[in-house]
Structure formats: C-alpha cells, structure tokens
Amino acid sequence: MASSSAPRVAAAGPVVSLRNVTKRFPGVVANDRVTIDIMPGEVHVLLGENGAGKSTLVGMLSGLQKPDEGEIVIDGMPVDISSPRQALDLGIGTVFQHSMLVPSLSLVDNFALGGAWWRRPDREGLARRIGEQATSIGIRIDPFALAGDLSLGEQQQVEIVRALMRGTRCLILDEATAMLTPRDAEQLGELMRRLVKRGIAIVFITHKLNEALAYGDRISVLRLGRNAGALGPEALAAADNHDAMAEVVRMMFGSAASEHTRGERRPLPAASELRTVLEATNLSVDDKSVPLSAISFAVGAGEIFGIAGIDGNGQKQLAEVLAGQRPIAGGQIALNGADIGRMTVGERRNRGLRYVTDDRLGEGTVAAFPVSTNLLLKQIGDVRFWTRGLERPAAIADHARKHVSEYDVRTPGIETPVGKLSGGNIQKVVLARELSGSAEAVIFSKPTYGLDVQNIRTSRRRIQEAADFGRAVLLISTDLEEILELADRIAVISQGKLVGTIANDSEARQKVGEMMSGIAQ
C-alpha cells in the first residue's frame, strides 16, 4: 500500500494526458481508445498482463511510435512526439529494463557521450552535477565508478539521474523491476517516493500486482489494449490491502469465476496416496545474482506442482539445476527414488526427466535445423533413429510426421527450419519433443510466455494431459493465472527460497498473492 503520509505537491492538472489513444499493428489492436491522466507528484502505475498494451503506450510516449488515433496532451497542449529526442525535449524521460550504459566506461564518461569529438570531456564539472542531482534525490553514486561494476538496480538509479539532469518532468519506468532483485526493487520504490515529492510525475509500468499496490498512488489497469479500470489515491488510501488486491485482480483478469475454471480438473488424489516421482531435498545452488538455498519439495505422479513468483527470484536457476545444466552446491535431487544430482543432462533425460525451457529459440531449438531434427535434438544417436551412428531418414521422418500431426504443428513441412515457424508452433515442437516417449517428470518453465491466446490454451491443455497420463509435472511460471488454473499445489519462490506450499483451493489466489508480496509466510 502506498504510504501517503508525505504531503503531495499541489497538482494544477495532468502533466501528460493520453486521450483516446489508439494504435494498431497488423492483426492486432495494441491500444484501443486508451485514456489516462498523469498527474505531477504521483506514482501512476500502469498495470496489466503481458500483451495488455503497456509497452506500446510507452513507445508512443517516448517518441518511438505515433498513435493512429487520439492525442497526447502535455501541459494542456496536444503534441506530436515524433522522435525520442523530441520526447526528451518535451520533458518525458524513459528508463527501460535493459540498461543503456556502456559497461566499460565510467558514469561520467557515459553521460558525456555525444560531445564534440576532439574536446576533452569536462569530467570534474559533470561529476559535480551528477553528485548534486543524486544527493538531491537521496541516492549515492560514485560518478567515476565503471558502469559495469554497478548492480542493475544501481544502473537504473543512474539512468534516473540522467533523465533528471535532462529536465525530465514525467519519468517513465518501463518494467523497471523486471530484472531487479526484490531488495533493489524496494530501493527503487523508495526512490520513486522521493522523486514524486519534488513534483515529478512517474509512470511505473509493471505486471506485478504487489508492486503496484506497494508503490502506486494511482493505478490504471490495462487489459487487452483497453482501460480496464482505475484506482485513484483516495480509493487506495481508503481500502485495505486485501480488498485492493482483490479489486485489482478482478480488473486484470476478470472475475475468478470466469474462463479459467478449476472445476474442469479431474479430482485430486489425496496427497498421501501419491507416489513421489521428483523430489528435491535441501537443494542449494550457487549463482551470482540469485543463489538458491534450502529448496525442498516433492511432486507425485499425476500431480501438477506449481511454483509461482516474481520473475528473477531463482526460477531459471531451479529449472536448470533440476535438468542438469547447473551443478548442485548442496542437497539432493531424486527421480523415482534414485539420486540424480550427479548425473548429466542426458542421463537424467534417459531416466525420464524432461525440461521444457522458456528460451525456445535461444536454447530449446536450433533455428536453422529442420523440425524433424529438432524433434530429436535430445536423442541424437538413439538406436531407433540412428543405426550404428548412421541416420535412418525414414524413421526420423515418420517420427516427425507423427508428432507434427499429433501436436498440430503448423509447418510447411517437416524439413522446414524451425526458426521459420511462429512462436506458438515452435512451442508445440518443443512440447512434442519433451512430452513424448517415456517421460516420468516434466519441468515446464514459463511455458506460455509470449504466446497468443489460442496457443496458450493449447499449451495449458498439454500440461494438464501430461499430468493426466500419470507424469509428475513441475510448473514454474510467473503467470499467476496459469498457476491457479493448473496447479494442484502451489509454492512461491522468493529470493531463491521456497516460501510456503499450499493446496490450490478457493483461498489460494489470496494466499499466493500475499506470499508473493511478502505479507504472509
């Protein structure tokens, strides 16, 4: 909940207004008559799921795109923002989630980029100004530190200072906490409060509802490109935490009783009757950003165990250590009772462990290779398809055709390079590969990220089927809705630890929300 104890600067009117802004792309309406007023001295949260249209709005405000309809009004006058430079001149500064600092240059040199090439940069003067600006908003930075030595959170602070030095009055933070550790995110939140006291308007883009409630003075919810509701400062101040959360969730996802029903699911077997397939005991993993510690859980045959959490809290590290791509620092992993902690990726796979990675094109497939090869990427040399090392094209083609048809992969042919397929079909290829054969336990990592509604539905059905066929399913997802729809039991991962495990009942939504925002244990 936003701490509204500090007096806010008297608002004369909105700094920036979006009036009925519409933006279309081929095949989709990204923003549909969106109207938002950004008041000075407020943290205005733009909240919405992936695909809700937040990034497109940011693009238009920062000069990367222009609206098809509607207008953008600054200080009461409609403007046409035609370039990033112009946006800056108009007082709109944007900080994106990927840092725009050159790692091997000092901060001063970073800020000095763009000066006349033969001139000597005025390092002392710039350093002084940076220091003044930084102190005025209550953060400490060493102007001569190398940008690469700073943590991501500190780099963002530097970008904010840079925006302020350019006279930004409306600061847009686009998914600024997406890559931050929870501690850094808190610091950013506090910084936002200090900035806002100076009268600056902040637009804070996020899809994480706990942050919205924690840092926002005003929340505008976007859903499928449209305004889906708003909570002003009075409403936020008046309502208590639980109610506000429920209200926002309702705006973001629709009522709990709508499309995503858990009633479709088959009845849960009692937890005690399940045969444990995949088990982690006191697992710990070294990592320079999010080390894991004391991870313990057990997934039974036919069960879907969901791990929810804010992105960047150790999900990737957990998936990789279970799959064998990362070494264990301590603890055990057991598959069907056997200790697999020291086994290679291939050995684990042979024993029935499957891993559906979230990085489809980066590591899940080889884009230049045909669909048929990608379907066998983890089984190169398997005797069914290679006799004494020599490939059997007929067997490989049959295998490919069978899977393409079974999983409804839309592709011109089985020899088409997988990189040419749409994201949803690439995901189908990955699913086909991982879910077929003698799978015992399947790890899903953000399985529907970036997919359209149709493919999301299909993928979720596959996950359900995997469990129905008796496999142990570990569902790691940052999509709360997905977890609530599919999981039998839910744990939340936060800062590399598992925070509580609950059954997915009618109170699950509330409890998970609380665990994710650090309120409950």
Binding site: M100, L105, L113, G114, W117, W118, P121
Partner: protein
C-alpha cells in the same frame, strides 16, 4: 665474447626498434579497430599494400617521406573496402578479412612482378635524424634517438593514442562503439561513422608500418614480405587490453626476439635463425596459455550494429 657486452645490447636494442616499429604500428591500428568493435583480420593485407605503395612511391620519387604517405594511403584504401563491406553492409568480418589479406598478397605480388619483373630494385638507405644529446646515450642512444623521423612519429603516436582514448569524446565514443553500440546510438552518435573511422585509422597505421618495413627495414619489396607481422599485431592488440603503452612494450619485446639473430651473431653465439624465428610465436602461445582467459576483448567485437535489434 660475452652476452652482455655493449655491442650485443646495442645490436639487440637497435634491432628491436627496427623490427618493432612495424609491429607497433600494426598493433596500434588493430587496437583502434578492436576498441570500436571491428575485428580486423585483414591487417596483414593492409600492411602489405602499404609496403608496396610505400616502396613504389619512394622508388619513383626518391623521397621516403612520400613513400610513407603513399604507404599509409594504400593501407587506408584497403581499410575503406573493409569499412564499406563490414561496417556499413554488415558482412562477416572474418571472411572479408581473410579475403582482403589474400587479395592484397596477390595484387601486390602481381603488380611488383609486372613493374619490375624478376629484379628487386633497392632503395637508398634512409637518412637518420639524430636527436642532440639523447643520441649520445650508450645503447639506447643509437636505438631510439638516432633513427629516421618516422620512428619518432611512431613513438609519438603511442602518446597520441593514449591521449585520444583517455581524454577526448572520440575515445569514449570508440569505447562505446565496441562495448555497447546501442548506448552510443542512444546518445546520438553515429555508430557506423565511429567504427568506419576506427577501421580507416587501422589501415593508415598498418599501411605506414608496411611502408616502414619496405623503405627502412629491407630497402626492397619482396612478395609476402610482411610475413605474419600483421597477425602478430593482432595478437599484440588482443593482449594489450586497450592500452597503447602495452602495445609498445609487446612490439619491442617481439622486435627483440626477431632481431635476436643479428645480436647473437655480434656476441659470437651461433643459434640458427629458424629457432630464433620461433621465439615470438612461442612467446605468444605461452602468454595465451597463462593469461588467455583474461585477454579482454570488447563485448560487441565481431558483430555488426543494427539499430533496433534488441
């Protein structure tokens, strides 16, 4: 006949400078290019073209100075091709680099043959300019302070590059172009222009180094005469981690190993030339084995910059 007589040391240091200057120039050039993110495998070709153009100009006009200018220009022409193909169009830097080196080897040998057939005309020895007082120093005096002016130029360039990298906006822009071009673009600086400048600079340096080899070093042009100096220059740049001074030390070190033969002969020790010739390369491998992990290269090295590509 001792190993550490003045005669031996003098011969060694003089030889080190003579052999080291081309390496220094090649290294500085490659360092400039790599700093901005362009891996320049064509450096050997640029040196060779510089050697040929330098020799030809010097031969036709009798002026070494014009020869040096022509050599630098020749190297820059080859670099311009690289800039257009790799920086502007984005073709693979390694493939084009190999092509330019092969092409330079072929063209210079061809042209030399066509002009001079099987004869190898010699250039007159280049006059040295002694720096008063300093050239009287034992050992170092002859080696560093009694040399043709181009040597002083090369040594001064070390300082110029240090200043450029540390104390100008261009230096920061070069660094940014190699480390994170997107940030440079966001700051409103033309990444393509910055990288092109770096590549052309590399060509100028390498061309000058090649011209030095032909005009001062050998006095003639022989096909393929650069014999790997360009590649050693690339190694120097990779090991020097962005510091021009280290390129200088490395160049002198390698120059010393190359000139060891003559020096040893002066000292009366008889080690076969071929074994001595192995020294620089063996040294490089040793250093790479010991410290290869830490040979720092800019992150964006070898990849072309496309705006908007995330």
């Amino acid at each position: 006949m001792g190993l550490f007589t003045e005669a031996f040391l003098t011969s060694l240091v003089v030889g080190a400078v003579a052999a080291g200057i081309p390496l220094l120039l090649a290294g500085l050039g490659e360092q400039l290019s790599e700093k901005a993110g362009v891996l320049n495998i064509g450096l050997e070709g640029m040196m060779l073209v510089g050697a040929y153009c330098g020799f030809l100009a010097s031969f036709l006009t009798g002026s070494p100075a014009l020869g040096f200018l022509a050599g630098a220009g020749g190297g820059a022409v080859v670099a311009a091709i690289m800039a257009i193909l790799c920086v502007r169009l984005g073709l693979n830097q390694i493939v084009i680099g190999i092509a330019l080196t092969l092409g330079a080897e072929g063209m210079t040998s061809l042209l030399h043959y066509v002009q001079f057939s099987k004869t190898y005309p010699r250039l007159d020895a280049v006059e040295t300019t002694a720096i008063p007082l300093l050239s009287q120093l034992p050992v170092l005096g002859d080696a560093f302070f009694n040399r043709p002016p181009v040597v002083y130029f090369a040594l001064i360039m070390v300082g110029v590059m240090i200043y450029l990298y540390r104390s100008t906006h261009l230096g920061a822009a070069l660094q940014a172009a190699g480390d994170k071009p997107a940030a440079l673009d966001a700051a409103g600086v033309d990444v393509i222009a910055t990288r092109s400048f770096a590549v052309l600079g590399a060509g100028l340096f390498a061309g000058l180094g090649g011209a030095f080899m032909a005009i001062v070093g050998a006095g003639i042009f022989v096909p393929f005469m650069t014999h790997g100096n360009g590649f050693i220059g690339i190694v120097l740049a990779m090991l020097a981690r962005g510091k021009p001074l280290w390129v200088l030390f490395g160049a002198l070190l390698f120059g010393a190993s190359l000139s060891m033969t003559t020096a040893l002969q002066v000292a009366g020790v008889d080690i076969p030339t071929d074994i001595i010739q192995m020294l620089p390369f063996a040294m490089v491998m040793l250093v790479l084995v010991l410290a290869g992990r830490k040979a720092s290269l800019p992150l964006a090295l070898g990849s072309s910059y496309v705006r908007g590509a995330r």
